[in-house]
C-alpha cells in the first residue's frame, strides 16, 4: 500500500512531470536517427478521381466502374495502404457525376484536377472520355477509361491515356475463334453489322471491318440505328434481307441488343447474334424472352467461380448491395494502377507511372490474366487485354461457355 501510494505521488509531482516530459521531447528528437523512417512518416494520400456517368442513360456503366475503384481502394487501405519508395500511401477515391455528357465530364475533370489535385482519374463511355481528355493530357494527368470509339483520341498523342476495357476489336480475337469452334467456319462466311448512328457506332464498325477481314468473313450489311428508334423491326428486316450468316450488334447496350434479337428471331432469322457490348444476360432474357437463343456475349462472366472472383462478388454485395458482370470486369484497373505506382516509385510523376503501367501484367484478377497491349495497332501499349469470358444464351438459358485470352495478331 505504501509503495503504491509512493509510486502514485511520484507520478503526480510537478517535478516528475517535467522530468518525464523533458525525456519524452529529448527521445522524440533523437528518434529519427534511431528508429526506421517508416515508423514516423506521415501517411500520405493519393487521390484518384472519377468523372463518371452516375446518372442518365449510361449510369449503369458509370456506377459499375466507380464500384471497382471504391472497393479496390478500401481493400488496399485496410491492408495498410500502398508502399511507394518505402512510404505508405492511403488511397482516396473522389467521384463526380458527368451525366454521360461531354461538358459535364470536362467540368468534373477540371474540378478533380484543379481543386482536388488528382493525378490519376478514370472515366466511362465515349462522351465522358471525350470531356475528360480535354483536361487530362494538357494537365499531365493519367487517365484510365472504358471507351471503344474516338480512336483519334487514343495512341501516341495521348501517352497518359489508357483504355482498360477491351473494345469489340480485341474481344473479336476471342469470340471469333470461339464461334468458329462452336458453329464451324463454313457456317460463318458472311456477317452483318448493326450499331448506333454516332461516332461510337462508326468507330466500332471500323473495328468490326478489320476483324472480319482478318477472319476472311464477307461483310453483307451495315445498318445504323438512331438512339430515338423505338422499334427495331424495320432495321432488322433490312439486315436479314441480305442473308448474313451471323450478326454483330456493336456497341449496342443490352436493351437494344435484346430488341434486335427478338425482332430477328420473330422474322425467322436463325444465325448467331454476337453482342460485344451487351454484358447483361438478365436484360436480354427478360426482353427477348423465348427468342433469346444463339446469342454470344463476349466479356460476360455469369458464373464467378475462382476464389478471386468470388471474393470480389462477395465484397461488392456487402459494400454496394449489388454485383454485376461489368463491375467485376472493371475491378482490375485500380490493382494495375497500384502495381504501376509501386513499380514507378512515385505518386506524382505521371509519365513515369504511365510507363510503368504499360508494363504491368496481373495474373489473378476478376477477368483472369491482364496486360496492356496495342503498340502496333494504336502506337502504344495502352489497351487493356485480358481473358475473355464468353457467355452464350441458347433456348432462353445463359451459361459461361468459353474463357480464353484473345489470340492477338502480330499487327496488334
Amino acid at each position: 500500500m505504501t509503495n503504491k501510494k509512493s509510486n502514485l505521488s511520484r507520478r503526480l509531482t510537478r517535478r516528475g512531470l517535467l522530468k518525464q516530459g523533458s525525456m519524452a521531447i529529448a527521445g522524440g528528437l533523437a528518434a529519427p536517427a534511431i528508429l526506421p523512417k517508416s515508423a514516423f512518416a506521415q501517411t500520405r494520400t493519393i487521390k484518384i478521381g472519377g468523372a463518371v456517368p452516375l446518372s442518365g442513360p449510361v449510369a449503369y456503366w458509370g456506377q459499375s466502374t466507380m464500384q471497382g475503384f471504391v472497393d479496390g481502394a478500401a481493400v488496399m487501405n485496410e491492408a495498410g495502404g500502398i508502399m511507394i519508395d518505402g512510404e505508405p500511401y492511403m488511397l482516396e477515391v473522389i467521384n463526380y457525376d458527368t451525366k454521360g455528357e461531354v461538358a459535364d465530364s470536362r467540368a468534373a475533370t477540371m474540378r478533380l484536377v484543379e481543386q482536388d489535385e488528382c493525378k490519376f482519374v478514370y472515366s466511362q463511355a465515349a462522351a465522358s472520355t471525350v470531356g475528360m481528355l480535354q483536361v487530362t493530357e494538357p494537365a499531365e494527368v493519367l487517365s484510365i477509361v472504358a471507351c471503344w470509339g474516338y480512336l483519334e483520341l487514343f495512341g501516341t498523342d495521348y501517352p497518359l491515356h489508357f483504355r482498360g476495357e477491351m473494345s469489340d476489336y480485341e474481344q473479336g480475337f476471342a469470340y471469333m475463334p470461339f464461334m468458329i469452334e462452336k458453329y464451324g467456319k463454313d457456317a460463318l462466311k458472311s456477317a452483318a453489322f448493326i450499331g448506333p448512328d454516332d461516332q461510337d457506332g462508326i468507330d466500332c464498325h471500323f473495328s468490326y471491318e478489320r476483324l472480319m477481314k482478318h477472319y476472311g468473313v464477307e461483310q453483307k450489311a451495315v445498318e445504323y440505328y438512331n438512339w430515338e428508334d423505338t422499334d427495331f423491326y424495320p432495321i432488322v428486316a433490312k439486315t436479314i434481307r441480305e442473308k448474313p450468316d451471323f450478326i454483330v450488334t456493336s456497341p449496342s447496350p443490352p436493351g437494344i441488343t435484346a430488341s434486335i434479337i427478338k425482332a430477328a428471331r420473330e422474322m425467322g432469322y436463325q444465325g448467331p447474334i454476337s453482342s460485344p457490348a451487351a454484358s447483361e444476360t438478365e436484360t436480354i432474357l427478360e426482353v427477348a424472352g423465348e427468342h433469346a437463343s444463339g446469342v454470344i456475349l463476349p466479356v460476360t462472366n455469369i458464373n464467378p467461380s475462382s476464389p478471386t472472383q468470388k471474393a470480389i462478388e462477395k465484397r461488392f454485395l456487402e459494400r454496394f448491395g449489388t454485383f454485376n458482370a461489368l463491375a467485376g470486369n472493371y475491378s482490375w484497373w485500380i490493382y494495375a494502377l497500384k502495381a504501376a505506382l509501386e513499380m514507378a516509385g512515385t505518386a506524382t510523376d505521371t509519365k513515369a507511372v504511365a510507363e510503368a503501367l504499360a508494363q504491368v501484367e496481373l495474373e489473378d484478377t476478376y477477368v483472369g490474366r491482364t496486360k496492356w497491349a496495342g503498340k502496333n495497332a494504336y502506337g502504344l501499349n495502352r489497351q487493356g487485354v485480358y481473358d475473355c469470358f464468353t457467355t452464350t444464351i441458347d433456348d432462353g438459358k445463359a451459361e459461361l461457355a468459353d474463357v480464353r485470352f484473345p489470340d492477338l495478331p502480330d499487327t496488334f
Binding site: 446518372s55 442518365g56 442513360p57 449510361v58 449510369a59 449503369y60 456506377q63 448512328d197 445498318e223 445504323y224 440505328y225 438512331n226 430515338e228 428508334d229 423505338t230 422499334d231 427495331f232 423491326y233 424495320p234 432495321i235 428486316a237 433490312k238 434481307r241 447496350p253 443490352p254 436493351g255 437494344i256 435484346a258 430488341s259 420473330e266 422474322m267 425467322g268 447483361e280 438478365e282 436484360t283 432474357l285 427478360e286 426482353v287 427477348a288 424472352g289 423465348e290
Partner: protein, 287 residues
C-alpha cells in the same frame, strides 16, 4: 410484295402505339390548354407499374395493364389538382415550367427507384405465323388490337357518354360549359387522369414489345408532340392519323432507305403540314 406487307404491318402496329400516347397528350391540351411535357413520364411510370406487377411479383399481365392504367390515372388526377389547377387561367409558361420540372423529378426519381438497368416485361402472348413470307407476331397483333380497341373505346366515351360530352364541351368552350352547369374543375382532373392513363397503357404495350428504362419518357414525349402537331392540337382523330403516318414513315423509310432519312422525312412532313394547314390536319385554331 412480302416486304411491303411486312413494312405496312410494322408501321400500322407502331402507328397505333404512337397514337395511343399522343391521344392522351392531345386530350389534356384540348381540355386544359396546357402543354404536358411530363406525358412521357406517365408512359414510363405505366410501363414500370406493369413491370413490377407482372415481372417482379408474377401477377397476371392483363390485370397489371388495368392496375397500371388506374394507378397512373390517379397519379395524373392528383398532379392536376395539386399542381396544375392553381395555374389554370394563368400564363401558359407557368404550367410549362411545372411540367418540365415534373419531367426532371419523375425521370430522376425513376432512376433512383427503378435503377438504370434496362428491363423487360415478359410477353403475355408468344409465337407467330409466317404468311407468304410475312411474319405475323401474335404479340404485335394483340397489341395492335388492344391499342385499336382503346382508341375506339375512348372515341365512344367522348361521343356517347355524359362525361365525354362534358369533356368535349369544356374543350370547345370552357366558359359556356361552366354556365351550362358543367363542373369544369372535375372535367379537368378526369381529362388529365384519362390522358395519363392512355400514356400508361401505351407504356405497357411498348414496354412489352421493346424494353423499359426510366429515361424512356423523353422520346415518347417527342414522338407524341410530333404526332399531335401533325394531327392538330386537341384532335383525337388527328392524333390517330398522325400516329399512323409517323409509324408508316418509321417502318417503310427505315427499311427501304435508313433511320436517318425516316427522321428527316418525319419533320419534313410536319413542316409541310404546318405550312399548308397551320393548325394541323384536323386541329382547330387555338387562340
Amino acid at each position: 410484295m412480302t416486304e411491303l406487307l411486312q413494312m405496312a404491318l410494322t408501321g400500322f402496329n407502331l402507328g397505333l402505339m404512337y397514337a395511343l400516347i399522343a391521344i392522351g397528350l392531345t386530350l389534356i391540351f384540348g381540355v386544359m390548354r396546357i402543354i404536358q411535357y411530363a406525358h412521357g413520364e406517365m408512359f414510363m411510370l405505366g410501363a414500370f407499374t406493369l413491370y413490377y406487377w407482372n415481372a417482379e411479383f408474377g401477377l397476371n399481365y392483363w390485370a397489371g395493364v388495368g392496375v397500371s392504367a388506374v394507378v397512373i390515372f390517379c397519379f395524373g388526377a392528383i398532379l392536376q389538382i395539386v399542381l396544375f389547377r392553381p395555374l389554370h387561367g394563368k400564363n401558359i409558361l407557368y404550367s410549362l415550367a411545372v411540367s418540365l420540372g415534373l419531367v426532371l423529378i419523375i425521370s430522376s426519381s425513376g432512376q433512383i427507384l427503378f435503377g438504370t438497368t434496362v428491363k423487360g416485361i415478359p410477353s403475355a402472348v408468344t409465337g407467330g405465323v409466317l404468311l407468304g413470307g410475312t411474319y405475323l407476331s401474335y404479340e404485335r397483333m394483340v397489341i395492335s388490337a388492344v391499342s385499336a380497341a382503346l382508341i375506339i373505346a375512348l372515341w365512344f366515351f367522348l361521343r356517347r357518354t355524359t362525361t365525354g360530352l362534358a369533356i368535349r364541351a369544356v374543350a370547345e368552350d370552357p366558359d359556356t360549359s361552366a354556365l351550362q352547369g358543367v363542373k369544369t374543375r372535375r372535367i379537368h382532373w378526369i381529362a388529365f387522369g384519362l390522358g395519363s392513363a392512355m400514356a400508361a397503357i401505351a407504356g405497357c404495350m411498348m414496354g412489352t414489345l421493346l424494353s423499359i428504362v426510366p429515361t424512356m419518357g423523353f422520346l415518347a414525349t417527342i414522338k407524341a408532340f410530333m404526332i399531335v402537331i401533325m394531327g392538330g392540337l386537341g384532335s383525337v382523330f388527328g392524333a390517330l392519323i398522325g400516329g399512323l403516318i409517323l409509324g408508316m414513315i418509321d417502318s417503310v423509310v427505315t427499311t427501304t432507305i435508313s433511320g436517318d432519312v425516316a427522321l428527316i422525312l418525319s419533320f419534313v412532313v410536319i413542316f409541310l403540314i404546318l405550312v399548308f394547314r397551320p393548325s394541323g390536319l384536323f386541329g382547330q385554331d387555338w387562340e
